[in-house]
Structures are given as structure tokens and as C-alpha cells.
Point group: C2
Chain length 384, copies 2
């Protein structure tokens, strides 16, 4: 059974001091309903993606919270898998539609992160790592990704300048995204001279703390206009603790999930025309190129230096601005990635529309923790 | 596509000071695998039910945590909907099987609640209510259910003695359940003279803080022996805040979800042979009888006084001991309810086996918050 994107809505991403969790979720949902020319009565179920609202706002039970704010009495549940929550919720929604239980469902990703101070936020995020064996002993996410960066540098000769190119590219992309948190171009020196967060990662290697929400409507009816189909949704898991991995310069869950998706569709990585990948840190995007088969192991930097992943390049990656520059309201991120791919495949991305001849297959790569969860969703343009 | 229970496993419920979250989840999972004569390699995906591990243990991302502890690299996600998380995870697993994505999935409900002190636990549980409009102003769950009890008493003449009968029944049942937290019979005076928690609810009207885990394997292959099929899984939502409901002596989400399930199966409430209902407080079980159509509005107490809901009665309810006496490790509860119904329908409940002639349809009623989420799962014995 085919599953299509029938509408999308997104809020501003950023430090939204005057907004609360529920108003963000509701804004994104109402925009998606308007986009799909539907009302809440047309929605059979709600899937809410959110990572750690308990620590950020003291609120759990977001399924019912958001359903009741939207005046729906339909089935609603929250799905969580750390920073991969958004794509996991899309996967649960996808299966619910293919099961025949529902005709049309609303997926809302939301996170309100700025109601607590930064140190508490870092602690709240550390709940995505192994609490007993990593965060309890002081490991933070920047420090864990810094270990991955150090090893990639040691083994493959990757440089800090290579990593900086990713941040620069994503900032460059974000300038044209109206909802982006940082609509500002940066230069290599800005990245290299930024305060160190966890050596070798500086402030401009790290995605920010953000508030925001994103919503899509998935349904089994083929929409009019420019249909975009969700053709594959694959998940893989790995050890939650980084120290249990054989190789920390690759996320084996990303390799497995993407391989499963390519196999299911009988395609090669080179068939992917556009991608949104999980650049929680610059090193994560570099590793993603290699895990997804977009570049050979250790060689992604060559393509990167050639501008391969720019909006104007051969395989545009993170045209939304990515997590780094568009912002990373955790639960919203996977849904935002799906929206960007949808807009690009449907030719609705406005000023940031990628002008490639062929724009048929788009991929989202959404990672939880240091790679313990990876979800690959692949969308296909049915525009003839 | 038919979905069957292929195995079950459960840990002791109680104050388990020497146990952590992951060891509980793993124990239940391994028991379920053993029961089904399977290994983890036979499992295509994991659905983890948990309410607020963030506040209770500082750990999120339980899908990957538990998958990796079990040495699985398969898809895993956490499903949350406050105290209804267990049944919501069963619903997500049910849809994933019916979608054709998987052949066999593991559902694990777990909560480790005793690593923080009681006041913090009450606060962690309050995250299931409306944080901005209820818990922020000091409303706790006992106080919200006390409001419901007061109104039921005012409108229908329900007495504290009626409520006590529910606690007494569930304690009586728990004596025969080896994993129950309180295997001890109590008397009316014990309940009436217990310390007041939130008038009119005393300590013995309230379910306890518990640690524990429960796991089931759901699959599309009909198992040998005594097959039990999950024939309906319906969810409804209502306002998250109690003050937004028209009638606080009924949970409209429970009425809607159960009506949908009965309609889907073309059955009447009187066709249900056994039920596990969500007795987080005694008043909740009384209301459940009425919401589920087991008794007329305001009249459930008459049936209760006649012993109708006892193990030996016409419609045995909470033969496991219920949340009150078996214990209520939040995420595990819905899964535990499913296990009890499965054991009873399959004739595997040992000393507490209900000895009715006809034991064909069993229902679980699992509630999140003060009724904002309700999940009704109905199981059918295929024993000829």
C-alpha cells in the first residue's frame, strides 16, 4: 500500500522565549492541515515525536496533550528514540497506514529546549547515551562525538578545515530557509577560531539548542498535484554506549539501515538525488556521507572539498541548513528532514529549490545518540 | 492478518532495590523468548513501553538501550503515553505486524521507579497530567482521582466501603500471583483506617510505586498449543486536564475506545469473559466497570457487593491483583495486563486459573493520566 505526504507545516526554529511546547506543536499541526486542505476531523491518529520533554518541561503524555489541544479524540501516542524520534514516529505512522488501521495520520515532532539553562539541557540530552556507563561518568554528547572526530582524523587524515566546510555549507544553505535558526554565512576562520567545546569540535561544529515543531500528514490516498511517496522506512540499532562499538569512525546502524532501504528499493546510493543527514556535529555529517555510500570510507572530504554536497553540487545534502544551521529541536528534526525532502521533490522549495534535472529520490538519515539508533526514510517523487 | 501471542515473560513486581532498569527489561525479554522457544535473532523489531525513565533514572533512548543489551541490531523504539504506555506499545507492534513489515516482534514494558524518593516520584508521575494547568499548581494524581471519587460519591451515593471492596478483591487475587508486590489479604477496616492520601482516598485505595518489567512476543504465525489472538486494539483520547471534561465520573476515552473495539468485533460488553482494568486508584476500577458497559452508570457497586468481579464471580476482573496489589511499574502495566489475559485464556494461569466454563474473550483497559488516553485490547482464545 502506497503512503504519501499529503501536507506539511513547520514553525520557526530557534530560541523562542515566548513560546511553549504545546503552542509550537499546534502551530505546526494547523499549518500542515491547512497545507493539506484538511481539518483535524480528517485525521485518524496522531504520532508525536519528542525526546525528553520530561526534563525540558516536566510534561510527558504528549499524545493526549497535543490531541486534546487540537480537539481530537483520536488515537495518539508519543514515540521516542532520542534524536531519531522524528523519523521513528514517521516509521510508526507508516506501518499504521500500511496495516489498514488508518487512512490518514498526523506526525508531529516537537521539542521545547530553552526553558531550562544550558547545563541542564546538556544533561537532558545525555539521557540519549548510556546513562550508567557514559553520562554518569561525565561524558557529554560533544565529548563522545569528539572521540569519533579524533579517530577519524587519526585514521584518515581528516582535518579540522574539512569539518569546517560542512558547517560553512550548512550555514550557507540556511540563509535561504526562512525558518532557520541561523541565517548567516560563516567562514573557515569563524569555525576554527570559535571557542572549543570538546577538542577538536568547536562551537561552530555543534548543532544548537533549539525550540521548534514540524508536522506532516501521511495518507494512503494519492494527493493531487505533485505526489511524493514514502517508499522505504528502515531502522537499525547498535550498542548504546560508544565504547562497545568495533569502529567509531562509522555508525554501523546507519550502514545497516541504509543498506536495507537500498535493497528494498533495489537502488544504489548513487541513485539518491538529495539527502538530509543528521549533522548534530560536523563529524557526524562527514561520517554519514561514508556510511550512506555517498563516498568511499575516508574519502568523503575529497567530494566535500569539490562542493559535491552543496545546493549546486552533484548530491545536495542538508539544503535546509541541517541541524547545525536550521536548528535541532530534537523531536522535530526527523520530521523537518522529511519536509525538506518533500518540498524539494515536489518542486515547492522556493528560493532554495535545487535545480537539478532529475530529482526523484530523496533520503533522510536521522540518528539517535552516538548512532545507537538510525532511521533511513526514502521518498520518491511521482511527478511524471 | 491475525496476530497471536507467542510467548510471555515477567519479573517480580515490587521495590527491587538491587535491580536496575535494563536488567529488569532483559529478564522479562529472555523469559518471553524462552517461553516462545525462540532466540533474539528470531525477533524482527522491539517496542519498548516506558513512561518517565528520564525522571526516574536519567536514561532515555530505551529502544536502543534494550535492543543492544539483548544483542539485537533490529528496529527498536520507545512508545509513551503515561500509564497507558504498555498497551500503546502493543498497539504499535500490532500495526507493524499487520503492515507486513515484520513477522515477530517483542514488546517490553518496564519502569524502575524506586531509584528516586517518593516525593520526586509523585512529581515524575504528575508529568502525565497537564503540567502547565494541573501539576504546576500542585495537583497530584491522588488528588485528581480524589476529585473523581468525590463526584461519584455525591452523584451516585457510592461509599468508601464500596471502594474498599475493590482494594480487598485485588489483594485477595494477588495472593495467588507469584510476581505480585503485595501478596496479602486485607479487610474493610484496613482500607478505611489507612492514612488519608487525598480525601476520600486512603493509602490502600492507591496503587504503589513499583519496579518491574513484562514482555510479550507478538507474531503472525499461529502458535502450537493454545493460540490466543489479539483481535482488537483501539485507542481514544480526551482532554489531558481533568477540568476540561464534561463529566468526571466517567472517562469518555474509555467509553469511546471500548465501543470501537466492541463494534469492530460485533460483540457486546456481556460477551467479555474476563478483564484486567486500570485500577490506579479504587475509584478508577469502579468507573471502569461502568465505562466498559459491565454495569449501568452508578450501579457497578451493586454487582461489586455481590462478588460479581471476583475470581469466582460472573466476570472476573483483575485476577492478577490489578495495579493495586500486583503493583504498577508504569510502562510494564499494559503488558502485564495482556499477559494475565493470555495466561487465563490459554488455561496456563496455574493456581489462579479462572474456572469458568467459557473463557473465550478477554479485555485489557489501560489508562493514561486521568483518562486522557485509553487503550482497549481484546484477546480471543482459539482453543476449540
Amino acid at each position: 500500500m502506497a503512503v504519501y505526504i499529503q501536507g506539511q507545516g513547520i514553525t520557526q526554529f530557534g530560541e523562542l522565549w515566548d513560546r511553549d511546547l504545546r503552542s509550537l506543536a499546534v502551530e505546526a499541526a494547523l499549518k500542515a492541515l491547512k497545507d493539506a486542505k484538511l481539518t483535524i476531523k480528517d485525521i485518524d491518529a496522531l504520532y508525536i515525536a519528542n525526546m525528553n520533554t520530561s526534563a525540558f518541561t516536566g510534561q510527558e503524555h504528549l499524545g493526549a496533550l497535543i490531541a486534546s489541544e487540537l480537539q481530537s479524540d483520536k488515537p495518539a501516542m508519543r514515540v521516542e528514540g532520542a534524536c531519531a524520534s522524528g523519523s521513528l514516529a514517521i516509521n510508526a505512522a507508516f506501518n499504521s497506514l500500511r496495516s489498514g488501521s488508518y487512512k490518514r495520520v498526523l506526525v508531529i515532532g516537537v521539542e521545547k529546549m530553552t526553558d531550562i539553562e544550558g547545563g541542564q539541557a546538556t544533561q537532558a540530552l545525555a539521557a540519549a547515551s548510556d546513562e550508567e556507563w557514559e553520562s554518569y561518568y561525565g561524558a557529554t554528547f560533544p565529548s563522545l562525538y569528539a572521540l569519533m572526530a579524533r579517530e577519524h582524523i587519526r585514521r584518515f587524515g581528516t582535518t579540522r578545515e574539512d569539518l569546517a566546510l560542512i558547517s560553512i555549507k550548512n550555514h550557507y544553505h540556511a540563509v535561504l530557509n526562512p525558518i532557520a535558526q541561523f541565517k548567516k554565512e560563516i567562514k573557515v576562520d569563524d569555525v576554527l577560531k570559535a571557542p572549543v567545546v570538546a577538542d577538536p569540535l568547536g562551537l561552530l561544529d555543534c548543532s544548537p539548542i533549539s525550540d521548534g515543531a514540524a508536522a506532516i500528514i501521511l495518507g494512503v490516498e494519492e494527493p493531487k498535484g505533485k505526489p511524493v511517496e514514502l517508499v522505504a522506512s528502515e531502522i537499525a540499532t547498535s550498542s548504546i554506549a560508544l565504547h562497545d562499538r568495533e569502529d567509531i569512525t562509522s555508525l554501523d546502524a546507519a550502514v545497516k539501515a541504509s543498506s536495507k532501504a537500498y535493497e528494498a528499493l533495489k537502488i544504489k546510493p548513487s541513485d539518491i538525488d538529495i539527502a538530509e543527514v543528521h549533522d548534530c556535529f560536523t563529524i557526524a555529517e562527514l561520517i554519514a556521507y561514508e556510511d550512506l555510500g555517498f563516498a568511499a570510507k575516508g574519502r568523503a572530504r575529497d567530494e566535500l572539498r569539490r562542493g559535491h554536497y552543496h545546493r549546486e553540487g552533484k548530491l545536495p545534502v542538508n539544503v535546509s541548513g541541517g541541524l547545525k544551521a536550521c536548528g535541532h529541536p530534537i523531536g522535530a528534526t526527523g520530521v523537518k528532514q522529511a519536509i525538506e525532502i518533500y518540498l524539494q521533490l515536489a518542486g515547492l522549495a522556493g528560493k532554495r529549490q535545487v535545480k537539478k534535472k532529475r530529482l526523484k529520490l530523496g533520503l533522510t538519515h536521522n540518528v539517535g545518540g552516538t548512532g545507537a539508533t538510525c532511521v533511513i526514510n526514502i521518498f520518491k517523487s511521482e511527478v511524471k
